[in-house]
Subunit: 326 residues, 2 copies
């Protein structure tokens, strides 16, 4: 095999379309590096047929998401489907990249060519949902993966972002995580197509399940009528319970989306999210490019209260605009 | 008192500078509404002298942040300082605003004119750290509050954002929140000036404290040398332990920042964060404004893969640009 630098983007794109693992991994790395050179290649990949079922799995820390994803992969593999997993981890300034936890937990899947797992760090202060996450989904899609799982850790913005990037969203809760969790559930209730209560071997699991069902019942009265009614699935990774039910529910959700008119609505929402996120990425790149120059001068003025934030931001947008157009 | 609509922004600014509670509350509401009319007023407020100590308090759900903030306020009030609290909650689609939990927990502080508490929702899909958070901090600063606490729920992006908006950052952990928490701690380790382990009446608290200290010891070797060494403070809200120590550490951190050269570095970093966030807000506003027109057309093309995301985003930026300049 040629050394990495010698492989052109066009060769990589060809490799991705042929489903070659090494090409997929390298193309994702190029997407992460964000170099101009890979833009055209990623554009071609985006335009390639998109047949994958994109599933977002999210939940609070400690909810056992990673274990659940690993079990789900094993179950889905029995049907022969090719599964891609993109795990978006919080930034680890020390490791300089994704935390290895997820990869370790998914160790049992190593050696199965039908499962591709990639951990990604969020991009520090200016990141959010890592900018390479959605290009990575495109790459796996174009490479012929049947289902692509985006796993996010966290509460708040990322949950909302992931639902706009997935056809089906699974929100994982766990018993015994305290009061604050309930408050957060209220916020993510609306975004879940499927609720999972993990660790259901625990004695306090029933309490969590019934609380969740109560909240859903209240929510149903307030939300738009839909062809799909979110369900609550109890799972236990240690007892290997509920995973089949979850796999079936994920398939059933896609089926319902496609049979109802909601498939197109969801795809449009995903594209809208993608458009805004990409525009923001371009803005951030420009900001980085001008950091030592125009940005620094404005930051100094702002610190000394010689200018106010809105005026400064307008000035920055104006100054960097010419280059954005190039 | 005049009806709300009749009060001009200039009258409100005057009221804020005089420290009047009703003017502060109304000005924050105008900042939240994001109307053009309040921009000039918020600019004036930003430029007013900024003497407040801004403290970010963050941590995972279930860590007992809100209780800690309430106890901290009570302790700080003994010294006579005026305290402002901005609590940024995850979006609750059902309540249409901030969850009331924090306000309820802080009930004991009601009636104390020296403490101003405001809960804010994050702004759904396009929010992150709510765009009114930093203007609200400016308002409280200009109104003469000595310390302003920004409390955020969540893990990931918000933590990193809050540290860039605060002079002093406190990260709260709690015992018994499971394995994933440890992974997240690795991510937020570097951003904390002070670590708190809450709920230290629990028997498993010592384990959390020593794990945290071990991680800090590893981190110290990797990070830049600094005048300040992050400490780990054990607190118990039920036993009212450790809160005095925390209050002292927060003061000591500011003192160290000011005596070392790091004060200016931190202020520049805060202004840089502010600049980028404001530029992004302007972009999002434009996006909203064109949602039914230019955006919809591009989204349709993107969904049909007639265009790729980068090209679409450049086109959008170009199309909406003229109006940004106005």
């Amino acid at each position: 095999m040629k050394p990495m630098a010698a492989i052109s983007s066009q060769e990589l794109v060809k490799g991705v379309f042929e489903g070659r693992i090494s090409a997929i991994a390298r193309m994702i790395t190029r997407a992460e590096s964000g170099d101009k050179d890979s833009e055209e290649a990623l554009g071609q990949i985006y335009k390639a047929s998109r047949n994958a079922h994109i599933v977002g799995i999210t939940g609070v820390p400690g909810s056992g998401k990673s274990t659940l994803v690993a079990e789900l992969c094993k179950t889905l593999r029995k049907g022969g489907r090719k599964i891609g997993v993109i795990a978006v981890d919080p930034t680890s300034p020390f490791s300089g990249g994704a935390i290895l936890g997820d990869r370790i937990r998914m160790g049992e899947l190593v050696g199965d060519e039908g499962v591709f797992i990639r951990s990604m760090a969020t991009r520090g202060a200016l990141g959010g949902l890592s900018r390479a996450t959605l290009p990575a989904v495109d790459i796996l899609d174009a490479a012929g993966y049947d289902m692509i799982i985006i796993e996010t850790v966290g509460v708040g913005q990322d949950e909302v972002d992931v639902v706009r990037s997935a056809h089906t969203t699974v929100v994982v809760s766990a018993p015994g995580l305290g009061d604050d969790i309930q408050a957060i559930k209220a916020g993510i209730l609306e975004i879940a197509d499927i609720h999972v209560v993990s660790k259901c071997d625990r004695s306090d699991a029933n309490k969590t399940i019934s609380e969740l069902k109560n909240m859903l019942a209240i929510g149903l009265g307030l939300s738009e009528p839909s062809a799909w009614t979110p369900s609550v699935i109890a799972t236990s990774a240690t007892k290997n319970e509920g995973i089949d039910t979850l796999a079936e529910a994920i398939d059933a959700h896609l089926d319902t989306l496609k049979k109802s008119g909601e498939w197109q609505t969801r795809r449009l929402a995903m594209a809208e999210m993608r458009l805004l996120k990409t525009a923001e990425d371009i803005l951030r790149d420009q900001f980085e490019r001008h950091r030592a120059g125009k940005v620094q001068a404005l930051v100094k003025q702002l610190t000394d209260a010689e200018i106010e934030p809105h005026g400064a931001a307008r000035k920055l947008l104006k100054d960097v605009w010419k280059e954005i157009l190039q």
